[in-house]
Symmetry: C2
Subunit: 335 residues, 2 copies
């Protein structure tokens, strides 16, 4: 069945398209009798206004975009729920784009979003992203941006994140207090601000306890499960084997557990493990894993709320707001 549009209605009713359009909008210029006729046929033919025609008239898409590195991660999947809960209340649609940690893809997505497809954009940057130019370009084009979790240093952008530096410090201190002297830090990027903030916190604890800094203990992982497994295995098989591991993201905790299992290393007897994660299975892993748990839902919620503040121009200058929601160390069997 072809879609009913204003043209179809006008033709069947012997009215002009302008009259039909005004009648559908309940305009005072149209008589009650005509409105009645138009509405009756619209109902009969199952007329639905075209969303894009409507967007074009209002210059509003009622849509926001969410640009993420991945969804197969507890943090992001819960943050999406937080964002979505706010958008639904506002009657907005959420477009989700995945960068798969690839900068070129992220840039192409943001470039495409200049076209008016969305009213605003929430971004958590890819591990490869170094510069904010593609984000500034979108803002210059009149599309507001809020960064969340994975923010970029030196950008004039609204941001919502957690206290990464402090958490890196607290988690490392905890490992040291449980007897670790050679703690490996598993990074997933040399660019990502959150990973570097966590690393700086780690370094602060190492300095404070006067442990020897060791470059071999800083392991850079990436987006390939195979690479990460090999890199962690190499470190845990070496003579200078670490006795503690701090994983900067969830998937590296899982990989570390798999490597320990393969190498028959006991957690926590041979190596203690802690990581940043809100994994629902954290407490039932073998052994239960110590985590730094981020308030993912709240971060998503706050980021979306901030974006709507900018869109609704309710506050003065929310474009520069930085919100920090604290995470918590949850100690379990792995340390």
């Amino acid at each position: 069945m072809p879609k009913t549009n204003i043209r179809t209605l006008a033709k069947q009713l012997g009215l002009s398209q302008g009259t039909v359009s005004k009648a559908l909008k309940d305009s005072y210029e149209i008589s009650a009798a005509t409105k009645e006729r138009v509405m009756a046929l619209a109902r009969k033919l199952n007329y639905v206004p075209n969303a894009y025609a409507s967007s074009l008239r209002k210059q509003k898409s009622k849509t926001i975009a969410l640009v993420l590195p991945e969804v197969a991660d507890s943090f992001f999947s819960v943050a999406i729920n937080g964002i979505e809960s706010v958008a639904q209340k506002k009657g907005y649609h959420v477009l989700i784009y995945l960068t798969h940690e690839n900068f070129a893809k992220e840039k192409a997505i943001l470039n495409e979003l200049k076209s008016g497809r969305v009213d605003g954009v929430l971004v958590s940057v890819a591990r490869e992203t170094k510069h904010p130019n593609h984000i500034s370009a979108l803002q210059t084009n009149g599309v507001p941006v809020v960064l969340f979790d994975r923010v970029l240093a030196d950008t004039i952008t609204a941001e919502v994140c957690t206290n990464d530096f402090e958490c890196g410090y607290i988690a490392t201190k905890h490992l040291i207090e449980r007897g670790c002297r050679k703690i490996a830090y598993l990074s997933i990027s040399k660019n990502l601000s959150i990973v570097n903030e966590r690393l700086e916190g780690y370094k602060k604890a190492i300095r404070e306890y006067e442990l020897p800094p060791d470059k071999d203990l800083l392991i850079t992982c990436n987006n390939s499960e195979g690479h990460n497994h090999a890199a962690i295995k190499k470190s845990l098989s070496s003579k200078n084997r670490p006795d503690g591991i701090l994983a900067s993201v969830e998937k590296l905790i899982i990989t570390t557990y798999h490597v320990c299992k393969a190498l028959h290393l006991e957690i926590p007897a041979n190596v203690k493990v802690a990581g940043f994660s809100i994994l629902p299975s954290a407490a039932i892993l073998s052994p239960p894993v110590t985590t730094i748990s981020q308030p993912a839902f709240e971060i998503g919620e706050a980021a979306a709320a901030l974006l709507f503040k900018i869109l609704e121009k309710k506050d003065h200058g929310p474009e520069n707001t930085k919100i920090i929601l604290p995470s918590a160390l949850i100690i379990r069997g792995s340390t």
Copy 2:
């Protein structure tokens, strides 16, 4: 900075909007010199064509919608990746909507999608969904639909799912062969075809081994973690305690493990546990859990490919295609 549109360009150049529009489209009607002038200013003012104006002209949104119960689930997060990989290759955008297992929300979303916002829709239905009327209404409106994983019985819709009946049977048989005599089946819905197919498979195995059918062993869970925890705890604390559990979805495996931990029940000594899941941590849980692993990426990929076949009208009648991709039983320490 206000957005540059065709009107701005026309005004600054002293040309008509029609001329500018044709020049931007490289029309033969416009002289090379004029095209040059238009393109130069368009570049200078960072002109981007309006996506909705463009959609309206082409009557194509280049967007598909994905309607899901939730994202915090390994199956769906991996299926999204499969869908997205196909859409990206086709140059399509993916709108993701979450129903949170709520039928009214699912209905409202599909109703909204009648408006031409998307060219086609992929749906995995909510646990509350019983009837396909809202799906048929969307199809009647000219928007093709493909159901995946959670399909509906008796719909004339393209579908991609896995061999749920067979897997329910194989998993139950496995539990029986490992000595279980009282196997509880954890359902999340009385409507969902996949849950019922898995249940029918379970019942077949129970009959085949002549175990007494027991209604108390059929536990209906829902979308509330608290309710599910209480229901599983009640069953595992009863005199007639099950010695085996088959969880129909991933989150119920996690809840079962938490309940067993709270009740100090040993898995697999006191109770054996198996479930439908592709949890990345399945092998490192305490103990590693036996799963029926669905080809989630492939299901997403096949569903998206089928939708594009319908959109591109390449095949005759792909609207009725049913694709079944088999799952595999992976035996681990929990059984």
